[in-house]
C-alpha cells in the first residue's frame, strides 16, 4: 500500500523550504539558501520516484487496471451535504507521472539556479518562491477534489506571478507579471463557473465521484446535465468548455496565450520550470484528469481539438519570425501544448456519432500524456541551454549570437539533442511521442493530420533556425575573459536532461498510462513514421540552408513574404487587440463611466439632498425675521384662518 506520509511529504517539503527561506532566509541563510532548497527538492524527488516505482510496479495495478487510489482525504470546507472541498491525494497513472516530472524538472532548475542566480541579492527569496511554486504544482497534481485543484491552480498562478516579477524594478517585468496573472485570472473565471456548473449537476466536488456520476450511462446526474440546456448547449458541454477555458488560460492556448511570451521576463530557469515544463501543462493535465467527463460531450471535445490544433499552428508560424530566443522557445511551448491538447481532443469519444472511426479510443490520451512527459524534459533542456547562452552573452537577441559552439561545447551538444528531440527525429524522445499524436490524428481526421504534419515541419524549421543562429552563423567576438559555461552546477542538469531527452522515448508509455487504466497496445508502424520524419528533416535542412552560414537568403524570403511576415512578427496583433479592448473599451467605456457615475450621480444625489435642505432653509428662514410685529401678523392670520376653518368650513358630522 502507498506510504501516505511519504507521499504527503513530497509537496510539503518544498512548502517548508518556502516558509523557512521566506521568513528567515535573508537573515540566517543568505548564502546557503540555495543548498537548502536543492536538498529539500532532492528529497522530494526521491520520494516521488519511490512512489512512482511503488505505484507502477507494486500496488497500483489491480486486475491489470491501474486504479485511482486516494490514500488521504480530509474535509477542508463543507459547503452543504455532498459538496465539500476535501484536501486529499489522488494516485493514478497521470498524477504519479506528473509527480516525477515536476520534482525532477524542479530539482534540475534548483540545481541550475545555484550557479545561474549566484550573487543575486534576493537569492533566498528566489529559492523561497521556487519552493512555493513546486509545492503548489505538486498540490495541483495530487488534487483529489476539483476545488482543491482550483486552489492550487490559483497558487501556481500567484507563484508564477511572483517569479515573473522577480526583477521587480524592471517595468517590463512588472507589466509581464501583471499580464500573466490577469489573463490567467480571466481564464480562471471560466474554470470557476465550470466548477459551479458541474458540481451543481453532480452534487459533488470529488473527482472520482464526479467522473463516475457524470459518465455512467443513464445516471440521474448525467441525465440532468444533458437535458438542462442554456443557449443551445447542454449543462455538461457548458461546464466542460468553461473548465477547458481555465485550462486554456494556464496552458496559453489561443486566444489566451498572450501572457506566455511576456512571461519570459522572469529568470530563465524559472521559464524552464514554469513556462515550459510544468505549469503551462497544467491545462492539459486538467483536461486529462477530467477526460472521461469531457469525452461525454462532443461539443467540448471539438472545442479542445480545434483550440489545440489552431494554437499549435498559429504559434509555430509566429515562432519562425521571432528574434528573441526565449520568445521563440515560448511560442514553441505554446505550439507543443496545442498539440497535446489536440491529441486529447482527438482521443475519441464514446458518443454515438458514427461517421468517425473510434476504434482507437484513448490513443490520443496516451499520446498526449507521453508528449507532455517528453516535452517537459526536452523543453526544460532547451530553456536551460538558452539560459546558458544568455548567461554567457548577456542578451536574448539572436543578432548578438552566432558561432557559440566553440565557447559553449556542452551547451551546444545538449541543445542540439533537444532540438532533434523536439523535431521528431528518431531515436530521440520527441519522435515517439509525436508519432503517437500523428497516429491519433490520422485515425481521427485526415485534414487535421496534414495540419499536424505541417506544424511538425515548422517546428523542426524554427528550432533549427534557432540552433544555427546561436551556434553557427557568423562568429561573435568575445572580448577578454569570459566566465565559460557556468561550471558544474549548470552543466549537470543539461547533461541529465539530455540523457532524458534521448532515453525517455523508449519507455513503453502505453503500458502505464491510458485513458481507462488498462495497458494500451501501442502499435508502431514504421511505414507511418516516414512522412513525419521526412517533413521534420525537410524543416531541418531548410533551416540549415538558410541559417548555417550568414547570408542574405533569409532577408530575401522575408521581403517576398511581405505583409504576412510582418503580421507574424507582430504576433498577428493579438496583443494590440487585447490592449484595445482593455484600454479603450473596458477602461473608457465601463471603468470611467462607473467612476464618473459614482462621483457625479450617486454622490451628486447625496450632495443634492444636503444642498436642497440648505436651499429650502435659506428660502424659508425669512419667516423668522425677529420682528415682533411680523410674528403678530402671522399669529393673527393663523387665528383668522382657524376661525374661518372652524366656523365656516369644517362641519363635523
Amino acid at each position: 500500500m502507498p506510504n501516505t506520509i511519504l507521499i504527503a511529504l513530497i509537496p510539503l517539503l518544498p512548502l517548508a523550504a518556502f516558509l523557512l527561506l521566506g521568513l528567515y532566509g535573508k537573515k540566517y541563510f543568505k548564502n546557503f539558501s540555495g543548498i537548502i532548497g536543492t536538498t529539500v527538492l532532492l528529497l522530494s524527488a526521491a520520494f516521488a520516484l519511490y512512489t512512482a516505482y511503488g505505484y507502477f510496479f507494486e500496488y497500483g495495478k489491480i486486475d491489470g487496471i491501474y486504479q485511482k487510489l486516494v490514500p488521504l482525504q480530509f474535509t477542508w470546507l463543507q459547503f452543504s451535504p455532498g459538496l465539500s472541498i476535501d484536501m486529499g491525494i489522488i494516485l493514478d497513472p497521470i498524477s504519479v507521472m506528473m509527480l516525477v516530472v515536476v520534482t525532477f524538472i524542479s530539482l534540475m532548475v534548483h540545481f541550475y539556479s545555484l550557479a545561474y542566480m549566484k550573487g543575486d541579492e534576493r537569492f533566498p527569496v528566489y529559492y523561497a518562491f521556487l519552493g512555493l511554486f513546486t509545492f503548489s504544482m505538486l498540490g495541483l497534481v495530487m488534487a483529489s477534489n476539483i476545488f482543491q485543484l482550483y486552489i492550487f491552480w490559483e497558487l501556481v498562478g500567484v507563484s508564477s506571478f511572483l517569479l515573473i516579477g522577480y526583477h521587480y524594478d524592471r517595468p517590463s517585468a512588472v507589466a509581464a507579471c501583471k499580464k500573466a496573472f490577469i489573463v490567467t485570472r480571466f481564464a480562471d473565471l471560466g474554470f470557476l463557473i465550470g466548477i459551479l456548473v458541474l458540481s451543481f449537476h453532480a452534487n459533488t466536488l470529488d473527482f472520482n465521484t464526479l467522473i463516475q456520476r457524470l459518465t455512467v450511462d443513464g445516471s440521474h446526474e448525467l441525465h440532468t446535465a444533458y437535458t438542462s440546456m442554456f443557449l443551445g448547449a447542454s449543462a455538461l458541454t457548458w461546464g466542460t468548455v468553461l473548465v477547458f477555458i481555465g485550462g486554456a488560460g494556464k496552458s496559453a492556448l489561443f486566444p489566451l496565450h498572450i501572457w506566455l511570451p511576456d512571461a519570459m521576463e522572469g529568470p530563465t530557469p524559472v521559464s524552464a520550470l514554469i513556462h515550459a515544463a510544468t505549469m503551462v501543462v497544467a491545462g492539459v493535465y486538467l483536461v486529462a484528469r477530467m477526460f472521461p467527463v469531457f469525452s461525454m460531450s462532443n461539443g467540448a471535445m471539438h472545442v479542445v481539438t480545434f483550440a489545440g490544433i489552431f494554437s499549435a499552428l498559429f504559434a509555430a508560424v509566429i515562432a519562425c519570425t521571432q528574434t528573441d530566443i526565449k520568445r521563440v522557445l515560448a511560442y514553441s511551448t505554446m505550439s507543443q501544448i496545442g498539440l497535446m491538447m489536440f491529441a486529447l481532443g482527438v482521443s475519441g469519444s464514446n458518443l454515438e456519432s458514427g461517421s468517425l472511426n473510434y476504434s482507437h479510443l484513448g490513443a490520443g490520451y496516451t499520446a498526449s500524456m507521453f508528449h507532455l512527459f517528453t516535452h517537459a524534459i526536452f523543453k526544460a533542456l532547451l530553456f536551460l541551454g538558452a539560459g546558458s547562452v544568455i548567461h554567457f552573452i548577456h542578451s536574448n537577441e539572436m543578432k548578438d549570437m552566432g558561432g557559440l559552439r566553440k565557447y559553449l561545447p556542452i551547451t551546444h551538444i545538449t541543445f542540439l539533442i533537444a532540438c532533434l528531440a523536439i523535431s521528431g527525429v528518431p531515436p530521440f524522445a520527441g519522435f515517439f511521442s509525436k508519432e503517437e499524436i500523428m497516429l491519433a490524428a490520422w485515425q481521427h481526421n485526415t485534414v487535421l493530420y496534414y495540419i499536424t504534419l505541417f506544424t511538425s515541419g515548422l517546428t523542426a524549421f524554427y528550432m533549427f533556425r534557432l540552433y544555427f543562429n546561436i551556434f553557427w552563423s557568423k562568429g561573435v567576438i568575445v572580448h577578454g575573459e569570459h566566465h565559460g559555461e557556468g561550471g558544474f552546477a549548470m552543466m549537470l542538469p543539461l547533461v541529465l536532461l539530455a540523457i532524458g531527452a534521448v532515453a525517455a522515448g523508449f519507455i513503453p508509455f502505453g503500458n502505464f498510462i491510458s485513458a481507462d487504466g488498462k495497458p494500451l497496445e501501442s502499435e508502431f508502424h514504421w511505414q507511418f513514421s516516414i512522412a513525419p520524419v521526412a517533413v521534420g528533416l525537410a524543416g531541418i535542412f531548410t533551416a540549415m540552408w538558410l541559417y548555417k552560414n550568414k547570408s542574405n537568403k533569409p532577408a530575401a524570403i522575408v521581403t517576398s513574404l511581405g505583409g504576412f511576415y510582418k503580421a507574424a512578427y507582430n504576433k498577428f496583433y493579438i496583443d494590440e487587440l487585447y490592449l484595445f479592448i482593455t484600454k479603450k473599451i473596458i477602461f473608457n467605456l465601463i471603468g470611467r463611466p462607473a467612476a464618473w457615475f459614482d462621483k457625479n450621480i450617486v454622490n451628486g444625489l447625496v450632495n443634492m439632498t444636503g444642498n436642497t435642505t440648505l436651499i429650502i432653509s435659506e428660502k424659508i428662514k425669512g419667516f423668522q425675521s425677529g420682528k415682533v410685529q411680523q410674528y403678530a401678523i402671522y399669529f393673527l392670520a393663523g387665528l383668522i384662518g382657524l376661525a374661518v376653518l372652524f366656523i365656516y368650513l369644517w362641519k363635523p358630522g
Binding site: 428662514k621 423668522q624 425675521s625 425677529g626 420682528k627 415682533v628 410685529q629 403678530a632 401678523i633
Partner: protein, 104 residues
C-alpha cells in the same frame, strides 16, 4: 334718548380691538405698541362687562374677570416697561424694527 344696547357696546369694543390691533401692527414705538395692547385688553374688558350686564345681570363673573384683566394688564405693563427700558439701554432706542437680533 335711546338706551345703549348690547350691540352698541360690542361695536365699540370691536372698534377698540381693531384700533388696538392696527396700532400694534403699525406703530414702531414700543410704548405705543404697549398702549395698543392696553386698548385690546380694554376692548375685552368692555366685552366682559357688556355681556355680564345684558345677558346675566344677576351674576358677577364678568366684572370679576375684567378686574382680573386690569390687574394682569398692570403687571404686564410693569414687565413690558421694564423690558422697554432694558431695550433702550442696550439699543438707545425703543424702535421694534431695530430689535431683531432674534432672527434666524
Amino acid at each position: 334718548m335711546m338706551e345703549p344696547g348690547l350691540y352698541h357696546l360690542l361695536f365699540v369694543s370691536t372698534a377698540l380691538f381693531f384700533i388696538g390691533v392696527y396700532g400694534f401692527f403699525t406703530r414702531r414705538n414700543l410704548v405705543t405698541m404697549l398702549m395698543s395692547i392696553e386698548l385690546i385688553l380694554n376692548s375685552v374688558n368692555i366685552n366682559f362687562i357688556a355681556f355680564n350686564k345684558y345677558l346675566w345681570p344677576h351674576k358677577m363673573d364678568g366684572l370679576f374677570f375684567s378686574i382680573f384683566v386690569i390687574a394682569i394688564a398692570a403687571a404686564e405693563a410693569a414687565v413690558a416697561i421694564a423690558i422697554i427700558i432694558n431695550l433702550y439701554r442696550s439699543h438707545q432706542s425703543i424702535d421694534v424694527e431695530r430689535a431683531e437680533e432674534m432672527k434666524f
